[in-house]
């Protein structure tokens, strides 16, 4: 518990550091925010520009602007989008849930199926399926995720029309709650599969490797010697330890997962955070970009803490502070 509390305290500092770094990056970038806001029509009007600069406090020193921004973020205010003229916090609030839905579905799919495949192939390490996992993991890792998305769309949404091409819901649909949820689930299949496949490939290989190792360990031999059924040995004794590296890696890779989601959201027009960021890039909408960066970093930090908690639960050795 103490360790978790220390992690949380450090995490607050970490996010503060992220905010300072990202803010400084935006500050260093060439270009004038006032010109961006004024737009093409207003850029020639020096009075308007001056007014905007005054409003945003752009003439203040870097340190004053930074401390003002940190204070605002601490109170939950991420500024106002240049493009939508709307609060960044509420923009992100709208867009974060589709991303979380996409990412968790993909991750759960990858972990559950990956571990099952890993366990299955570890019991028959020389079988063709087992070698197939090695090939699949290399192929899955090497495919650009947006390309996988297009191939899946071409196959499953265009050639056979099983799934919608893009979007998160059917605007024509007028139904009850359940129908709405089913509609979202229907739209979710291809994006989640696209994103999940990369990780499925890695996790099945990883869990096979750790399972192979665990199955040769002394305690598994003991369990077998006691006369336990092989099923019980594998699923009750060995699985728990084989899952730990997968959970650890999945936690560490969460940032990469968000990066992947950014591309998948663009391919499938999924209304998430990544899409918001990608749309804001060309408008140079700095408050939105900054907000999305900070929120994603915060999400990564939270997931890292959760991962810590989860594997403390799975592995008592870590809980009592023994060597890992």
């Amino acid at each position: 518990m103490k360790q978790i509390a220390a992690r949380i305290a450090w995490s607050v500092g970490l996010i503060l550091a992220v905010i300072v770094m990202c803010f400084s990056l935006v500050h260093l970038a060439p270009g004038d925010a006032a010109l961006v806001i004024a737009g093409d029509s207003g850029a020639g009007d020096p009075e308007l520009i001056e007014e905007i600069r005054e409003d945003l406090g752009l003439d203040d020193s870097y340190l004053i602007q930074l401390s003002r921004y940190v204070g605002d973020v601490a109170s939950g205010d991420l500024g106002t989008s240049y493009r939508f003229n709307e609060s960044v916090t509420s923009l992100i609030g709208d867009r974060i849930w589709p991303t979380i839905l996409l990412v968790t579905t993909a991750l759960l799919f990858a972990i559950v199926i990956g571990v099952l495949v890993g366990v299955f192939t570890a019991r028959r390490p020389e079988s063709p399926v087992s070698h197939g996992v090695t090939v699949f993991s290399l192929v899955g890792y090497s495919m650009p995720v947006f390309w996988t998305g297009y191939l899946l769309i071409i196959t499953f949404a265009s050639n056979v029309r099983w799934f919608p091409v893009a979007g998160m819901r059917d605007v024509r649909l007028e139904g009850n709650r359940l129908e709405e949820w089913l509609d979202i689930a229907h739209h979710l299949v291809l994006p989640a599969l696209t994103l999940g496949l990369i990780y499925l490939a890695q996790y099945s290989r990883l869990s096979r490797a750790s399972m192979l190792e665990v199955l040769q360990s002394d305690y598994v031999r003991t369990a077998r010697a006691k006369g336990l059924a092989e099923r019980k040995v594998v699923y009750k004794h060995a699985l728990r330890n084989a899952v730990i590296p997968v959970i650890t890696i999945a936690g560490l890779q969460f940032g990469a997962l968000l990066s992947g989601a950014l591309l998948v959201e663009t391919v499938f027009n999924w209304p998430g955070l990544g899409r918001l960021a990608a749309d804001s890039v060309f408008q140079r909408d700095a408050p939105v970009l900054l907000g999305v960066l900070i929120c994603s970093a915060a999400l990564v930090v939270v997931i890292n803490i959760l991962t810590d908690v989860v594997y403390r639960m799975i592995d008592p050795r870590i809980r009592v502070g023994g060597s890992t």
Partner: protein
């Protein structure tokens, strides 16, 4: 011992032999050589201008008068794009990986070797970069500065080094208390010499494996940015081709399939080589 050693050759030789016996790894090497050759010399053999509108838009492969891979949404030759698109990706990946190695190895080596507060400070610094989703971070850098090939390479480098720093640090932690390092210290070698001449060469095998894999990752990274439209608009690349055909790909599967295949093959070749090197340096882990 001496006899066994001379029979087997040096560790490097052994690793090379192991590597060459690995069919998948050799396939990766051949594939990569093919791609590099195509990128360097392909345009001599297939001298179509990838930017020229040469036929009707969205003509499929095999259609009358269409080039081998069809034409894109503007009527440009997709095959010419595939042949010429690799140079940007490979250049960016090389520069980015160079940055990753310089930053990652320096920070990791100093943190691992000195330990204590230096280690704490450097690793905390690394963590700040590690919690930022790399693609998003790079995207913001490219968007705020300028979408030139140089910015893209720097952005990828800046977003990708933490893994290398951690790996280098772990290797230094493992190696720094071994006897040959103690021996070097005992004869009065300077810290600088111990870090770069004594420990670093011994940390190389896992680093080489990881650098090979990072090359592949950097290619994916660059293609992702180009796909989103964050690349030099005048430097054609595979990811950019897919991004530009985003609106029309349902009317022309070839416009996204072939450039994607090129990215996939390049990354796959690096993965296969990396895997082969891993097995060669670490025979015990084979097949895992």
């Amino acid at each position: 011992m001496a006899v066994a050693r001379s029979e087997l050759g040096s560790p490097g030789r052994q690793a090379l032999r192991m590597f060459l016996r690995n069919r998948a790894a050799v396939f990766g090497l051949v594939l990569l050589s093919g791609i590099v050759l195509m990128t360097l010399f392909g345009s001599f053999f297939y001298d179509q201008d990838p930017t020229r509108i040469m036929a009707r838009p969205l003509q499929g492969p095999g259609e009358d008068g269409a080039p081998a891979f069809g034409t894109d949404y503007l009527g440009r030759d997709v095959l010419a794009g595939v042949v010429n698109g690799g140079s940007t990706s490979l250049t960016v990946a090389l520069v980015a990986v160079f940055l990753v190695v310089v930053i990652g190895v320096t920070i990791g080596a100093l943190a691992g070797y000195y330990g204590g507060w230096i280690d704490t400070l450097l690793m905390r610094f690394t963590e700040v970069f590690q919690v930022l989703p790399a693609l998003l971070f790079a995207m913001v850098i490219v968007a705020l500065f300028e979408p030139s090939t140089r910015t893209v390479a720097i952005a990828i480098g800046l977003a990708s080094w933490p893994g290398t720093a951690r790996l280098t640090r772990a290797e230094f932690l493992r190696l720094k208390n071994l006897e040959f390092v103690k021996a070097a210290r005992a004869i009065g070698a300077s810290d600088f010499r111990i870090i770069w001449r004594v420990i670093f060469p011994n940390a190389l095998p896992p680093l080489i494996v990881s650098i090979t894999l990072i090359m592949g990752a950097a290619i994916l990274f660059e293609s992702g940015l180009a796909f989103l439209g964050l690349s030099d608009p005048n430097a054609q690349s595979w990811g950019q081709m897919i991004g530009l055909n985003r609106q029309t790909f349902l009317n022309g599967w070839w416009t996204v399939t072939f450039p994607g295949l090129a990215i996939f093959s390049t990354v796959l070749s690096f993965s296969l080589i990396g895997d082969g090197l891993q097995d060669a340096f670490n025979p015990k882990l084979r097949g895992r």
